[in-house]
Symmetry: C2
Subunit: 336 residues, 2 copies
């Protein structure tokens, strides 16, 4: 059924320089779109905010950079309101690329049923969604995680990081996290069950790594790039280690990409660095969700969310994420 | 039979700063060593000079750095003169780690029979030795070379580079080399049969690569590191490309390792970077030699050698190699 009222969109006002500010975005009222044959209309319930969108805005991503006036990208959990699509019915809960808006139409491309088992539906944008699949596919695929290995993950309190650590702990690995606040480190150690979590803002990472993993790490799951990447790749790789390049949040805000680490140590340690893109692993959705729903149903796994309410809060919430001031999967609750 | 006379060794006089000079080495006369039970004595015929030895001298290799007065490392083709080892007989031609000296004893560790088919025995230190195996194992192993791909290799006139290109051409690949002189480029194109070879000293690499491989390269075999590595890894990787880190000759002469390329493009292109060490592939010696001897016997493959005569020429020849002024596999002929 077509809803009453109007749509609200978050559009790009200007491309950000450095860390985005609220003034880089504009809220625009627009008509609610009508689904054509083969399309459905859905109402956004939860909107996912993701660091990679900042990289897209810099033109350093395989998605094209937006222009002023373009709708901001964003996945959502949405409820189908009206369907002219054979596979989706009114009332269905779906994960979709809706963009940052209250109502969106879709032809079914990249749409999945939002299926979280006993976990809240918002988890389908985080630990039971793309971020969770990222962790699962990277560790089971090119990361070749083996029982008992030493695993290091940056942005450990985020949805990718906390899943990397918890999956690795389930494989009897020694897991070390890196995070950006005392609260996050406390949660990563005591709730998510990591062996240790280093506060990158207050602790000396070099000293801590040499104490905690003097023989280096077998798998480094890099969500940040920057100084952490350089230190780990030049000093803390174990022989035949794997580095998963998953995110580079330290450089998404920069207009020019900085130099990276010297790669000589990769040769010395016979290491492999893998540029990882979760979109290459759609075939792992099914095994991932089957396993992961059980992990949460059994109460073995935990996750953290950082949620604000109302589409109008999306710009500020995205800016907070890009400052690293979020704690957990960053979402906007748009409707009930 | 024990030979008459004395041994001559090339020892480290002082650790080089920057590009090595002859004064960093000293020629020392010493007694000819006597083989104990389980050992053999061999006379060096050809001595191999290899860039990695410079990295060892900087302490940036998994072999320990030498001290003043230590024998310089070096593999050789040698003739067994006297044997107390069950596997080797007087007269056998072997490849061994002799160090830079006229006579050496060995307990058989890392010794192979020098077996080159119709090719000259010196080839067992180059295209039919470790360098050839490096190319073969990297392309067939982690490089996952596929028919028809675009392959780029630096130091293309060297024994690793020319084998990479010729093996890839045999797989119907498009092969581009990079080399440091007009002579080398001419040889790489007209003799070794590469599709193109770029002169890194006189041509603009960026311009040439954008002309020759506008869609990027599927496999980049990196023998040099430095600016070439940075340019290729940030601008010329194709989707799902592989980078083989085999040598970093540009930085072996530096006291401090410089920064490397930004790794963001690896994510974007879903590329993999592999720190490659030939010592991990001893099981490929047999299939490699079986195939490679045929390639040379059939006259399909070519190679180039840069040979001086006499153990006393080893320091100058090594310095030439480290300046990049050699042309082909760099050897010293020590005895007939």
């Amino acid at each position: 059924m077509m809803p009453e009222g109007q749509n609200t969109q978050v559009q790009v006002k200007r491309l950000p320089e450095g860390i985005p500010v609220e003034e880089d975005f504009i809220l625009v009222v627009a008509p609610i779109p009508e689904p054509k044959q083969g399309e459905f209309l859905a109402e956004t319930l939860f909107l996912s905010l993701d660091p990679y969108v900042r990289a897209v805005m810099s033109g350093r991503h395989f998605f094209n950079a937006p222009c002023s006036g373009d709708l901001m990208r964003g996945r959502s959990v949405s409820r189908v309101l009206q369907s002219n699509h054979s596979q989706y019915d009114e009332g269905d809960l779906v994960c979709m690329e809706s963009g940052m808006q209250k109502y969106a139409v879709s032809d079914g491309t990249d749409v999945r049923c939002a299926d979280t088992g006993v976990a809240p539906m918002s988890a389908s944008l985080g630990v039971l969604g793309m971020p969770g699949l990222t962790a699962y596919a990277a560790l089971n695929g090119p990361g070749q995680l083996k029982e008992g290995e030493t695993v290091l993950v940056s942005a450990a309190a985020g949805p990718v990081g906390c899943m990397v650590g918890q999956i690795a702990k389930a494989e009897s690995c020694k897991v070390i996290g890196i995070a950006g606040s005392e609260d996050k480190c406390e949660w990563v150690e005591s709730e998510a069950g990591f062996d240790a979590c280093i506060n990158r803002k207050t602790e000396n990472l070099d000293t801590q790594l040499s104490n905690i993993c003097p023989d280096g790490v077998d798998l480094f799951f890099d969500n940040t790039g920057g100084d952490i990447q350089a230190l780990v790749m030049t000093k803390y790789l174990a022989s035949r280690s794997r580095v998963i390049l998953s995110g580079l949040i330290t450089q998404y805000n920069l207009s020019v990409a900085p130099p990276g680490p010297n790669l000589g140590n990769l040769c010395k340690m016979r290491s492999t660095v893998i540029g990882f893109v979760v979109y290459d692993y759609p075939h792992l959705w099914e095994p991932f969700l089957r396993e992961a729903k059980n992990w949460f149903a059994d109460g073995k796994f935990v996750f953290k969310e950082d949620i604000t309410e109302g589409i109008h809060t999306a710009p500020a919430q995205f800016c907070k994420l890009m400052r690293g001031d979020n704690f957990g999967k960053t979402l906007v609750k748009v409707a009930d």
